[in-house]
């Protein structure tokens, strides 16, 4: 465990139970997942039972207990996107990357997941890669987009 890296994160907070979510967010950002050993330290430092941390960590989609890939692909399956080809888009990503939604490619480059409504229904179907939106996305554009991120 990288104690220093974790301490840097923890040093930014008061050490209250109320800091749990922000601390987990920072860890998720930096490590791209929530490692178990780190969570045990967080439990001790914030005085929160470990079971509660797991409860929070598994409730929100933004957290993951297993390492995520370098890029996060989120395919929208909200109502509008669903009607306008979201599932087909999903299948295409899944097919190209060779992983089911919820998983990460072997080379740790991409994690694929589904979300409910990204708030851009007018552009449906929508997908997001890291912070960037891709609207009106037809399946034939998928290889090209993926290429942008592969290097």
């Amino acid at each position: 465990m990288d104690q220093e890296r974790l301490d840097t994160i923890l040093s930014r907070y008061e050490g209250d139970a109320a800091d749990l979510i922000p601390v987990l967010q920072d860890i998720q950002d930096q490590y791209s997942y929530l490692p178990k050993d780190e969570l045990k330290v967080v439990a001790q430092k914030l005085n929160v039972p470990l079971t509660r941390i797991f409860s929070v960590a598994t409730f929100y989609k933004m957290f993951s207990l297993i390492p995520k890939g370098r890029h996060q692909i989120r395919v929208c399956l909200g109502t509008t996107c669903h009607l306008r080809g979201g599932p087909r888009l999903m299948e295409s990503f899944s097919h190209r990357l060779g992983v089911e939604p919820g998983y990460t490619t072997k080379d740790m480059q991409f994690s694929l997941e589904t979300v409910g409504c990204l708030g851009s229904c007018a552009q449906a179907p929508v997908a997001m890669i890291d912070d960037k939106y891709f609207g009106r996305l037809a399946t034939d554009k998928v290889p090209k987009i993926l290429k942008l991120y592969k290097n």
Partner: protein, 866 residues
């Protein structure tokens, strides 16, 4: 009272109760699933929906909706039935349906509901979830595929037990009960098992041993700690299989998993007589004849005071009462005591010094013959009582206090029900908890103030609290009539707060704040444990707390009381029935006769070779060598006694020194009563065969009869009737209650206490010998007691920094040396302990913690690797 109708029936219900409460009280069935009477309702499952007018147009959960005047409630209609059916289908969508091998089968709430609601097909589908079954955790097995996500286990673990060891992970349909992806690492109380409506949590001790409908169920009191929990014992073919608490579901681990100790292969089965340096088996007749003959011989040669008795905080009231009768009426002496002398009796004496001995008036005999184990006395309208028992609190009232000061007690290991009561109290925002201890304990996490004092400095801290209260409020006066106040104030005036802060290690500001909180409290409670009573100055410690309570307590307010922990099942009872030289039954001080020596005084007499030292000892169980401080000395002294008789279930180290050992019945092999820490009567009915051993009361009565004393009794019921007739304070006493209410007249007398806190010796570490959560005395240390799988031996708790300095890692052996002796024990790193303090549980025979102690549970030690 509120008037409403349920299904057209006019009903009166208490204000503030729920529709479900009202319906149940009137025998109207409303199905439920997430509701449990021991928890706050959360209205999650919606199986209990009812239609309420006036009210919103949608159905409401009966368990979480309060009654209101003029309400019309409908519990069953086509619409409601359809909702319930749909909900049930969702619950059953992927339920494992392995009822044939599920332990819950036959008493499963889901089975019952499915049947009651007539769910015949589930025409819904959802993906199957991987069942993350947990077969590896100790004592408890988890089957998430049987879980109905009612949250009852999560809530009892969080809100009552306070362990927060299990919680839901994921969400929606995927929600799963989990413990952080690891095997359970919790208190192993098993309360989650009993509260689960289905078979998702399984008791491994019971698993596959019987079906619920095959067992015989007997309600009884737990035989371990002073909590006095009652439970149902399940037996089949004369074997104990399981205990269940259907009422609150709460029991601690030793209560729930400890009972198999009854079937321990180590149990003594026949009387043993010492012969040629060993023991030989003997018949009951021979053994009892020998004891009686030897006792007679000794009394004829050396007088009846030559026999000394030690009663037992494990044995029933009936046995202990007969035991003191054997001495007082039979031999005509007061040569007896009980091992509580080293802990609980200190508290009683301290409290009695300040609040006086009990006085009771206005009690008369009941007209009709009483039921078995009911007091034959009752109170009249003028019934009055005074004295220290009135300031002893009841667990059920504790949650009504508004400030609780816990000092010198790691609450949960000492007395789990105290912890449950504190957790209940903590649900109210107005409740304040102050925890003072020499180390971090479970309740520090929830305390509003945490005071960390140096080991053994409790009474100086109390003096500091009193001083700062009186300095801040010079006009302060106790709420009850109290003598000696001026003198007491003068004494306290000499206390210097800076000095207190320095010597106790508690910052002045915290002492002042504690004093301020106690001063503001409308119903302050003071809780203390054997940790504080078991010091050599235990009496001074309890005097300090009694004075503090006299100063700030409000004995009229519910919950405002003192709560000393009575450690064992009958620690309080053995004292109440008079197994002490200076008290007759009912704490009546002995007058006009010379009390015999106390247990420590008796040992001193033996040491001095005094002519008054006993020639014979009669021990009613209890491994004195394991319990009393300074084991080597006690061993040496007991060996000096020419004739020793021990009644015990096990061949303890103490029993090995005896001339005659008489094997006794334990737990439900015998009938009788206990008095719990809060003074209520626990009933132990017989539910198991005795297999050749005998109950204590019978043995005492037989020895007595053989010696020509009028002590023949047919049953414990008869003994109880005689005992209770002489106990006016027990008027109205019946199983599961603590007797009738008296008009209380509490007065007190301030008694100065000593504030010198030096601990002799110069060794670098202080050792505290205390309690482990999974054990009760030495009773639970025999296989196959279930809790041995959690705590199977003594380990020395040590702060990680200390361990590092000593070059010790988890599991390494340490050599611990005191002025009295030396032991070798594996260490366990315990960050809760401050540097310089180490902890050793007292329960185990190897290594014997008491080899190190001198006259207290605190002793200075040196620690080395190896």
């Amino acid at each position: 009272m509120v008037n409403l109708t349920i299904d057209g029936r006019a009903i009166q219900a208490k204000k503030g109760c729920t529709i479900l409460d009202a319906a149940r009280e009137h025998g109207i069935y409303i199905p439920t699933l997430c509701y449990h009477q021991a928890l706050k309702p959360i209205g999650a499952c919606r199986i209990c929906v009812v239609e309420v007018k006036p009210g919103p147009p949608r159905p409401l959960p009966a368990c979480a909706t309060y009654v209101a005047e003029g309400q019309e409630v409908v519990t069953s209609s086509p619409k409601l039935d359809a909702i319930r059916l749909e909900l049930m289908k969702l619950v059953l969508i992927n339920h494992a349906l392995d009822c044939p091998i599920c332990d819950k089968g036959g008493e499963c709430e889901l089975q019952d509901l499915t049947h009651a609601l007539g769910v015949s097909v589930v025409d819904l589908e959802a993906v199957k979830l991987p069942p993350h079954k947990d077969y590896v955790s100790e004592l408890i097995e988890r089957h998430p595929d049987r879980c109905v996500t009612c949250g009852r286990c999560v809530r009892i673990c969080r809100d009552r037990v306070g362990a927060l060891a299990i919680n839901f992970t994921l969400r929606g349909y995927f929600t799963e009960l989990a413990s952080g992806g690891l095997p359970l690492d919790c208190e192993f109380c098993g309360s989650c098992i009993d509260i689960c409506p289905v078979g998702a949590l399984i008791n491994k001790v019971f698993k596959y041993r019987a079906r619920a409908w095959e067992v015989t169920r007997t309600e009884m009191v737990c035989p371990f700690c002073g909590g006095g929990c009652s439970y149902e014992l399940w037996t089949k073919n004369d074997r104990p299989l399981r205990v269940v608490n259907y009422d609150t579901a709460l029991l601690c681990g030793r209560g729930r998993f400890g009972f198999p100790v009854v079937e321990s292969p180590d149990r003594l089965k026949t009387p043993l007589i010492r012969e040629n340096g060993g023991f030989r088996e003997a018949s009951w007749d021979e053994a009892l004849d020998q004891v009686a003959a030897k006792f007679k011989e000794i009394t004829e040669a050396a007088g009846s005071a030559a026999i000394y008795g030690v009663g037992s905080p494990r044995a029933t009231n009936e046995a202990n009462y007969l035991f003191q009768k054997f001495f007082r009426t039979g031999l005509g002496t007061h040569q007896l005591d009980n091992p509580g002398r080293y802990t609980y009796v200190q508290a009683l004496k301290g409290l009695a010094a300040v609040f006086g001995f009990p006085q009771v008036s206005g009690v008369e005999k009941v007209a009709k013959p009483p039921l078995p184990f009911h007091s034959p006395l009752t109170t009249t309208e003028e019934a009055k009582a005074s004295g220290f028992p009135l300031v002893l609190g009841k667990l059920k009232d504790l949650p009504k206090a508004d400030v609780a000061l816990v000092v010198g007690a790691d609450v949960t290991p000492e007395l789990p029900p105290l912890g449950w009561a504190l957790n209940t109290a903590l649900e109210r925002d107005t409740f304040h908890l102050v925890v003072a201890n020499n180390r971090k304990t479970k309740f520090d996490r929830r305390a509003h103030l945490s005071l960390r004092y140096k080991p053994g400095s409790e009474r100086l801290l109390i003096a500091g609290i009193i001083k700062s209260l009186l300095t801040a409020q010079p006009e302060w006066a106790p709420t009850v009539i109290a003598g000696g106040f001026d003198e007491f104030k003068e004494n306290i005036n000499k206390v210097n707060l800076k000095d207190v802060a320095k010597k106790t290690g508690v910052p002045e500001a915290l002492i002042k704040e504690t004093a301020a909180r106690l001063a503001q409290a409308q119903a302050p409670a003071i809780i203390f444990g054997s940790e504080l009573m078991g010091q050599d100055k235990g009496l001074e410690n309890t005097l300090a707390l009694a004075d503090l309570f006299l100063l700030v307590g409000r004995p009229g307010a519910p919950g405002s009381a003192l709560y000393p922990v009575a450690e064992k099942n009958n620690t309080r009872g053995v004292c109440e029935v008079g197994v002490m030289p200076e008290f007759l039954p009912g704490f009546v001080p002995l007058e006009g006769a010379e009390p015999g020596p106390t247990l420590p005084e008796m040992l001193d007499l033996l040491e001095k070779g005094d002519p008054k030292a006993p020639q014979a000892l009669y021990l009613l169980g209890g491994d004195l060598l394991r319990q009393l401080p300074n084991r080597s000395r006690v061993e040496k002294l007991l060996k000096k006694v020419p004739f020793m008789v021990v009644q015990d279930a096990f061949l303890t180290d103490t029993a090995k020194l005896a001339q005659v050992i008489l094997p006794v019945a334990v737990h439900a092999e015998q009938e009788g009563t206990f008095i719990s820490t809060d003074g209520s009567l626990g009933l132990l009915p017989r539910a198991l065969p005795v297999n050749g051993v005998r109950p204590d009361w019978q043995i005492i009565s037989q020895i007595g009869s053989k010696m020509g004393f009028a002590m023949s009794y047919a049953s414990p019921k008869q003994i109880f009737a005689e005992l209770a007739l002489g106990m006016p304070r027990w008027a109205g006493m019946a199983p599961k209650n603590g007797g009738a209410a008296f008009t209380a007249e509490v007065t007190g007398q301030f008694v100065p206490f000593e504030t010198d806190i030096s601990l002799p010796g110069r060794r670098p570490f202080t050792l505290l010998v205390g309690k482990s959560l999974q054990h009760s005395g030495s009773f639970t240390t025999h296989e196959p007691c279930g809790t041995l799988t959690i705590t199977n031996r003594a380990r020395l708790g040590l702060n990680p920094a200390d361990a590092q300095n000593l070059g010790l890692a988890e599991g390494d052996f340490a050599k611990v040396t005191s002025s009295q002796g030396e032991i070798s024990v594996p260490v366990t790193l315990t960050p809760e302990l401050p540097e310089g303090l180490v902890f050793l549980p007292e329960h185990f025979s190897q290594p014997a913690a008491q080899r190190l102690t001198l006259n207290s549970n605190l002793v200075r030690v040196t620690i080395q690797k190896g």
